[in-house]
Symmetry: C2
Subunit: 628 residues, 2 copies
C-alpha cells in the first residue's frame, strides 16, 4: 500500500560516495534533505580498493574539500597510510593517496550523516521516480512510502540490476552480497532514459597471516604525511605499510590455460569494463610481451587481517583465483578470504545530462556517480557533491554552479561525461585535463574555496582561514619580488653548484625561479619576518617557479573562455542550420551543448562546423537587432 511519507526539498537516493556528498551538501546549504539507501550498514562502502586518492583522483578529493565536501576530511581521520605520489616530478602531477580503513571510513560517514542537521537518513529501496509533467516530484520505495521532493539526486552505483559473476557462476546481487535494485531501471526507462550495461571487477582478499613478507618490498607511508583537508585540527595517524610483489610466469600460464573459463572471454559478460582498471586476465592478454605485473598487498583496516591484492582484479573461476594467487612471490601459501568477482549493472548514458548533472528531459532529476558511467570513489564523490549543490541551488532559486575545465578536475570530468559520453566506465586521468598545470593538488583551495563559500557550503571559519593563508602568500611573494640581492650576497649560495653565478642584482623571486634554488635557500639568505607555515611557503615557491607556464595556460584559457561565453540559444534547432554536417546536426541535437566551447568538444563536430555555428549566431543576433 502506498502512503505519503514526507515532504523534502531534496531527496538523494543512495548513500555511497556520490550520495553521501550530495546529501551533506544539500543539507548544509539549508535544504531539508532526505537520504534513502538500501542498507544503512554499507554507507560509503568501498567494494574495491580500500584507498582514496592517487593521480588526478587525489586532486579531486582536495577540490571536494575546498568546496566544503566530506571525503577528504573523512579520509584524514581514518586512514592507514598516506603518501604524496610523484614527489620527484613537478607539482602538476603530485597527488595524495591514502590507504583507507574501509570499515572506519564507512562508519564515520554514517555518523556524519546521522548527525547532520537538515538531513534525514533512512533505509529504503527506491523503486520509482515520481513525476509531475516533465518535473521530478518524488520517489516511491518498495514499502510503499512516497516521499515528495523538489529535486531528486540519483546515485545508485552498481546496484541497478546488479549481477555478480565469478567464472561460470553468476547471480543477481549488489556489490559485496548486498541486495540489488531490480525495479528502478524500469522506472528510468519509462521516463525515457537510455541505459547501458557496464561492468567492473574486484580482486580477491587474503589473510595477512598467510603472506610471506620477508622477500617483498615495503611501501611505507610518508614520514611527514600531508592531509587532504584544508584544516588545521587533524592529528597525524600511525602509518601502516603496504607491500609490492609481482605476478610470475606461472601466474600468466595459469591464466592462459584458463582463459576459456573467463566470463569476459566466454561471452558471459555483456557489460563494458573499465579500460584503465583492467582485470589481470585482461592485462595478460593485452600486454602479452610483459613478463610480469605489479601486485600491491594492502591492509583493509587496523582491526582486521584481511588484505587487498591490488592489481589482481578478476572474474576467473574461484579455483583459478587460488592457483593464480599462490603463483605470486610471497603468496605461495596464501589463504584467500574471498574471491574476486565482476559485477554488471545498468548505467545512464551521461550525454542525457546537463553540465549541472540535471537530466535534460526530467527537470529536477539529477544523477551522479557510477550511475553516470564513471568508476571510482573520488569520481563519484565529486559528481555527488556537484549534483547535491546544484539540486540545492535550484531549490533555493539560485544560479547553478558549473565548474570550468580550467578550474577543476571535477569540471573536466563532468564536461567529458555530458559532452562526449563514455563507452566504458570513465575514470579520471591526469591526461584528460588540458590545463593540468593549473589544476594542481596544492592550489585546490585557491581555485575553489571562494566558490564553496559563496554557495553557502564552505563554513565562514574555514574560508577565513583560507583568506589568511592567501594574504600571507601574497605578502611573501611581494617581499620576494621587492627584496633585491647583489651578486656578492648570493655567492655562498652557489658555491659548489655547477651553475653560473648570478652576475647582476636580482630579486629574491627571480632567484627562486632558478631550478637549483628552493625556498629553503631563500629563507637562509633573507628570512621572512613573520613565521610562515610549509603550506604557505610551498605555495609561494610553486607560484613563482611556475609563473611563466601558468601565465601561458591562462592566456589559452582566456581564448577558450571567449568561446564558452558564446552561449547557444536555449531552443536552438541544430537540424535546421544550413552548412552543418549531418553528423554534427545529429550529435549537437542529442547533446544540446550550452555554448560554442562545449559544442567544439562534442565528438564528430569539426572546426568547420564551429565556424558555421559562429556565423549562424552572428547573423541571428543581427536579425534580432533588426527585428527588435
Amino acid at each position: 500500500m502506498r502512503y505519503r511519507a514526507g515532504i523534502y526539498d531534496v531527496i538523494v537516493i543512495g548513500a555511497g560516495h556520490a550520495g553521501s556528498e550530495a546529501a551533506l551538501a544539500s543539507a548544509r546549504m539549508g535544504c531539508k534533505t532526505l537520504l534513502l539507501t538500501i542498507n544503512l550498514d554499507t554507507i560509503a562502502f568501498m567494494p574495491c580498493n580500500p584507498s582514496i586518492g592517487g593521480p588526478a583522483k587525489g586532486i579531486v578529493v582536495r577540490e571536494i574539500d575546498a568546496l566544503g565536501g566530506q571525503m577528504g576530511y573523512n579520509t584524514d581521520l581514518t586512514y592507514l597510510q598516506m603518501r604524496l605520489l610523484n614527489t620527484g616530478k613537478g607539482p602538476a602531477v603530485q597527488a595524495l593517496r591514502a590507504q583507507s580503513d574501509k570499515a572506519s571510513y564507512g562508519r564515520l560517514m554514517k555518523q556524519t550523516l546521522e548527525n547532520e542537521p537538515n538531513l534525514t537518513l533512512k533505509q529504503g529501496m527506491v523503486e520509482e521516480i515520481l513525476t509531475a509533467g516533465d518535473r521530478a516530484s518524488g520517489v516511491r520505495t518498495n514499502t510503499g512510502a512516497e516521499y515528495e521532493g523538489r529535486a531528486i539526486v540519483l546515485t545508485t552505483g552498481t546496484y541497478l540490476r546488479g549481477r555478480i559473476i565469478i567464472g561460470d557462476v553468476s547471480y543477481q546481487s549488489g556489490p559485496n552480497g548486498q541486495l540489488p535494485a531490480l525495479k528502478l531501471t524500469d522506472s528510468l526507462i519509462d521516463l525515457g532514459f537510455s541505459l547501458v550495461r557496464f561492468k567492473t571487477g574486484t580482486p580477491p582478499r587474503v589473510n595477512r597471516n598467510t603472506i610471506r613478507f620477508e622477500h617483498l618490498s615495503v611501501q611505507p607511508g610518508d614520514e611527514e604525511p600531508l592531509q587532504f583537508s584544508f584544516r588545521d585540527d587533524i592529528e597525524k595517524r600511525e602509518q601502516l605499510n603496504c607491500y609490492l610483489t609481482y605476478t610470475s610466469a606461472a601466474t600468466h600460464e595459469i591464466i592462459g590455460e584458463n582463459l576459456h573459463r573467463a566470463p569476459m572471454f566466454s561471452g558471459d559478460i555483456e557489460g563494458r569494463g573499465p579500460r584503465y582498471c583492467p582485470s589481470i586476465e585482461d592485462k595478460v592478454v593485452r600486454f602479452k610481451e610483459r613478463p610480469s605485473h605489479q601486485v600491491f598487498l594492502e591492509p583493509e583496516g587496523r582491526d582486521t587481517a584481511e588484505w587487498y591484492v591490488q592489481g589482481m582484479s578478476t572474474s576467473l573461476p574461484e579455483d583459478v583465483q587460488v592457483r593464480m594467487l599462490r603463483s605470486i612471490k610471497g603468496l605461495e601459501e596464501v589463504e584467500m578470504l574471498r574471491p574476486g568477482y565482476a559485477i554488471e549493472y545498468d548505467a545512464m548514458v551521461p550525454t542525457q545530462l546537463d553540465l549541472t548533472l540535471e537530466t535534460k528531459v526530467i527537470k529536477g532529476l539529477y544523477t551522479a556517480g557510477q550511475i553516470n558511467g564513471t568508476s571510482g570513489y573520488e569520481e563519484a564523490a565529486g559528481q555527488g557533491l556537484m549534483a547535491g549543490i546544484n539540486a540545492a541551488l535550484s531549490v533555493l532559486g539560485r544560479e547553478p554552479l558549473i565548474l570550468d575545465r580550467s578550474e577543476a578536475y571535477i569540471g573536466v570530468m563532468i564536461d567529458d561525461l555530458v559532452t562526449k559520453g563514455t563507452t566504458e566506465p570513465y575514470r579520471l586521468l591526469t591526461s584528460r585535463a588540458e590545463y593540468r598545470l593549473l589544476l594542481r593538488h596544492d592550489n585546490a583551495d585557491a581555485r575553489l574555496m571562494e566558490k564553496g563559500y559563496r554557495i553557502g557550503l564552505l563554513p565562514l571559519q574555514r574560508y577565513e582561514r583560507f583568506l589568511r593563508k592567501q594574504a600571507l602568500i601574497h605578502q611573501e611573494k611581494d617581499r620576494l619580488n621587492k627584496t633585491k640581492v647583489q651578486p656578492d650576497d648570493v655567492h655562498a649560495l652557489f658555491t659548489g653548484l655547477s651553475v653560473d653565478q648570478p652576475k647582476v642584482t636580482q630579486s629574491l623571486a627571480q632567484l627562486l625561479r632558478r631550478p637549483e634554488v628552493d625556498y629553503g635557500k631563500i629563507h637562509d639568505l633573507r628570512p621572512s619576518e613573520v613565521e610562515l607555515s610549509d603550506e604557505v611557503t610551498s605555495q609561494v615557491e610553486i607560484d613563482l617557479k611556475y609563473e611563466g607556464y601558468v601565465k601561458r595556460q591562462e592566456a589559452e584559457i582566456e581564448r577558450q573562455k571567449k568561446l564558452e561565453k558564446k552561449e547557444l540559444p536555449v531552443g536552438i534547432s541544430f537540424a535546421s542550420i544550413r552548412g552543418l554536417s549531418n553528423e554534427a546536426k545529429e550529435r549537437l541535437s542529442a547533446i544540446r551543448p550550452r555554448n560554442i566551447g562545449q559544442a567544439s568538444r562534442v565528438e564528430g563536430v569539426t572546426p568547420a562546423d564551429i565556424s558555421v555555428l559562429l556565423i549562424y549566431m552572428e547573423s541571428s543576433n543581427k536579425q534580432e537587432v533588426t527585428n527588435g
Copy 2:
C-alpha cells in the same frame, strides 16, 4: 564446475554466534578447521537486540567463558553498558547484561577468527552437504568448491530460504538485507531431515538526535561493572545510558486499527514466532488489559546515532510503524532510520539430534544455533560451542562432552531441544532449569572450568587462575568454619538491628548464614589474613549462605543421576517392548533417548512407561547374564 578445494578435520558453515564459537573451539582443540560464511562483513552480526546476557542467557555466557569460548570476553572488550540484573534478589537469578557495540563486537570476532591458528576463514555460500554412506564427508559451495571434512557443523541461523516481511511487502532475503541461502534446504531434505518454518522479528531503529530524553527515565550502567569473562586482564569501559519509556493508549489504538494489515494476523506469515519475544502487535492483542508496555531505548554503538527500540518488534507496515513510534513519550518527533521486520526461515526439527548435537541419521553432521529452532545469540553461541567441541572430540577419537541439566544452562537447553523438541523458536528462561540454585552466574567457573581444561579448550593459565581462586575460597570457608566467636564478640554487630542477639558460641560461618550478616560484617569482626578479592569473598558468602538449599538440590540430582546412568541399549527397539503405551513407543522411537532419565523427559512418556522400561532392562540384563 566442481573442484577439490581442501581437506579439513572440521568444517563449520556460518560465522554467526553459533558458528564463530564452533570454529574457535574446534581450532583451539587442535583440529584443522574451515569456517565458511556468506559474507565476511557480517561475522557475529546481531540482527536484533544489540545486547548480550540477561536472565539465564547471561549465565550461558559465563558458562561459555568457563569452557573456553569467546562470547564473554568479546563482550567485555566492546560493551557500551554493563549491568548485573536482579541484584536485590537471590544469587540464583542474578545475571549480567551488556549493551553491545554491535559493529565493534562483530569486528572483534572477525579479527579473532582471522588470527586463530588452525582456523581458515572463507567467504562462501554452501549449497550441499556431501556424504559417504551415512557419514557427512564435506560440503559444496555455489562456486563449485568441494571441501572435504571429517565433521561438519551447520549453523545457518535465519538464512535458509529467508524471507523478510514488512506489512504487505515481502521478499527473499537473509537478515538485514543479506543474501539468503536458497539451496541448502534441498540438500538437507534429500538427506532425510525434517524441517520446520519459524519466524522472528525485530523492531525499528531510530535516530538518537530526534529523541526527547528530558522526560524519560535513565537506565544507567553499574558503577562497578562486573564482567562476563573469568579473567583479570580486562579494562573497565566507559558506560553509556539507556532509557525507559512506555507505549501509550494511542499506540495501542494505532495497532488495533491496523491489525488487518499485520502479516501475522492476515496469514501472510506461515512460520511460528517466539512466544517469549512477541511483537508489539502480539502483546497488544494477547494482553488486552495492559494499558501500556515498556519500551527501552538503547544505543547500538559508540560511533553511531542509531538506537534500538526494545519492545517494539513488529512486522506491521512501515507507515504504521512510524505512527506507532511517534505515539510513544519521548518519540513524538522521532525519525525512524529503518523499519522493523519479520523474517521467516527453515529450521531443523531438533529431536533429530543427539545430545552431542550430532544428527542421528548423518554421522559427523552437527547442527547448532537458530537452525536448531532456538532464538537468541547466547543460545546460539552455547550450542555452537558444544557442537564445535563434540565435532572436534569425535575427530580426535575422544569421548563426547555432554553437559548435564544439573551442570549448566547449556545442558538444560540442549536436553530440552533434543528430547522435547520445540514448536516455536526456543529461548532459555530461568524457569526451564530445575536446579537453578546450582546453575548460578557466580559459579559457572566452578561448574565447568575443569571440563573446559580437560577437553583442551581452556588454556592452562586460565585454569590455574581458577584453581588459585578455588583454593582461596576453600581456605576462607575453612577459616570461617573453624573460627569461633563468643556472644560478647558479636554484640556490636547486632546493636540497632531488630533481631535476636546470638546467645551461644558460633563459628563465623554460622554467623554469616544469618540473613542480616554479610561478608563485610564478618570481615570487620575477624578479617582474613590474606587479602581476598570480591570475586572470592562473594563466592564464600554465597556458598555458605545457600549451603542448605544447595545440598538438598544435590541430593535430588543424585536420585535423578541414577536414572541418567541407566543407559538404554544402542539398538533398542521400543516398538517391540510389551506394556509400553503406543504413544511412548512412537515418541521413544523417534527421539531415541540415551538413558532412562532422558526417556522420562520425552513428551507423552508417563511414569508407567518408565517402569515398563526399567523392568524390560532388568530382564534383558538378566538374559544377557544367562546367555553369557
